[in-house]
Amino acid sequence: MPWLDVAFHRALIEAVLVGAAAGLLGVQVVLRRLSFFTMAMTHATFPGVVVAAVVGVNLYLGGAGAGLLAALAVVALSRRRGHDPSTATAVALAAAFALGVALLSAQAGFTKDLTAYLTGSILTVTRQDLGVAAAVTAAVALVLAAGHKALTYTAFDHAGARAAGYRTAAIDLGVLLLIAVVVATAVPAVGTILTLALVAAPAGAARLWTDRIGTMTALAVAVAVTSAVTGLLLSRAWDVAAGGAISLTAAAVFAVSLLLARRRY
């Protein structure tokens, strides 16, 4: 039997790919303090995935589409002066999540259960899922490498970057869209809700061990991939949900780093 025909093997590859994409992007999320926004994005992705499943279109398209809409909505809200975007984001987060639950419950006799979308089902990923994850991981790596000067400048000194002639609004939106795409890609592996752990925890942990962005990026990818693979192995050994095991592993690395590392952010 070909190696990739074994569900567990496909799950391993998916864990590595999704871990790499989440770790890479997590650096931008942590440096730009977008963890809360990413949380909102994961919730907004959920109704998109549900609608796609109910209507019968591609789950990635549904999830990414809903994520993009959420990103645009947050940008529009945060551009209004004198309004705190966190309240609007929090409300949108709850509403989007509620919409997903309502839609799913209205679908009598629907076979796939809620938890698969919320927390993933990595053991059921297909070759097509692997193809999507590989393409997205490569694209994220390429975009971050090509844009690293502009990304660093805008994350560090937004006003200065604007003055230097960078199109900061376009760059900000690009980062948000990248987050939406990565969250949607990670749905089969860890679900919409748990993606945050794989994005924020490894980069957050890496930040505690180094003051260099290059080192931080390498560490974040290493921690994310290791967490994903370790979580998968633990879930098989102890017969617990893979999405949960992966997220808990990443969270545990973050917690240990908080305790042991000297740096604070």
Partner: protein
């Protein structure tokens, strides 16, 4: 007659239909340092942003090196207030200064040896060459301000715009900033400094633009920063204070 680096003609800037700056005139010549003086909320930062082409002018014109502001950014360097930047950001002093080269390097290339040497020289000019490897946030406020000035120097600009560079800066860093600005001026750069420190304006600048929503005076420092004009710009309390000093 030296070139005019920045020309501001009857400029009005409005936010949401409300004018925040009205009928401003002034200019900065090459090799000249101009102080932008006014109380908090006077519109100093807004005028700097307008000169960068980041805020649209409702009426009037701003010309930077003979061009519209947005077309001149390559030759203009902006120095933000150091305390507006995240001190926890994982970036070294040398990397911050090298940012001054980024726009010239372009998107895909990496900064080359020449860029690194220009950045190192700029850091040396503000007296912080020995801190190149330190994390930006570990420096004192005054030292961070000097690093940002070094980043602006690395950009090799013809016009420098500094937003409150002396706020919360210790004496050593203040002297270093003044020395460096003096050196830039001698090399022919035009410098616009917003500040509410009148003694520094006297010390560092040739001309002053006295501002509070509208212009209360423009010209040589000694002629503009007078008790009468300051009283008009700042209101009674501050004017009386200055008169007594």
């Amino acid at each position: 007659m030296p070139d005019v680096a920045l020309r501001i003609e009857r400029v009005t800037v409005a936010y949401d239909g409300r004018p925040v700056l009205q009928d401003i005139d002034g200019q900065v010549l090459a090799g000249e340092t101009v102080a932008l003086i006014g109380p908090n909320g006077a519109g100093k930062s807004t005028l700097i942003k307008a000169a960068l082409g980041l805020v649209p002018v409702a009426s009037g014109t701003i010309t930077v090196l003979g061009r519209p502001p947005a077309d001149a950014r390559r030759d203009v360097a902006y120095v933000p207030q150091a305390d507006t930047l995240d001190p926890q950001f994982p970036i070294s002093v040398a990397q911050v200064v090298l940012m001054g080269r980024y726009r010239r390097v372009g998107w895909l290339r990496r900064p080359g040896r020449a860029d690194r040497r220009i950045a190192a020289d700029a850091l040396d000019r503000v007296g912080l060459a020995d801190r190149a490897r330190a994390r930006f946030g570990t420096l004192s406020g005054g030292q961070r301000q000097r690093v940002l000035l070094a980043r602006a120097i690395a950009q090799q600009p013809r016009l420098l715009l500094l937003d409150e560079p002396f706020n919360g800066v210790d004496a050593v860093s203040q002297d270093a900033l003044l020395d460096t600005i003096g050196g830039l001026k001698q090399q022919g750069a035009a410098v616009l400094i917003s500040t509410h420190d009148l003694s520094l304006a006297h010390l560092a600048c040739d001309c002053a633009c006295l501002l509070n929503r509208r212009m209360h005076g423009f010209g040589p420092v000694g002629e503009v920063l007078t008790a009468d004009l300051l009283l008009a710009a700042y209101g009674a309390a501050h004017g009386a204070l200055y008169g007594a000093a």
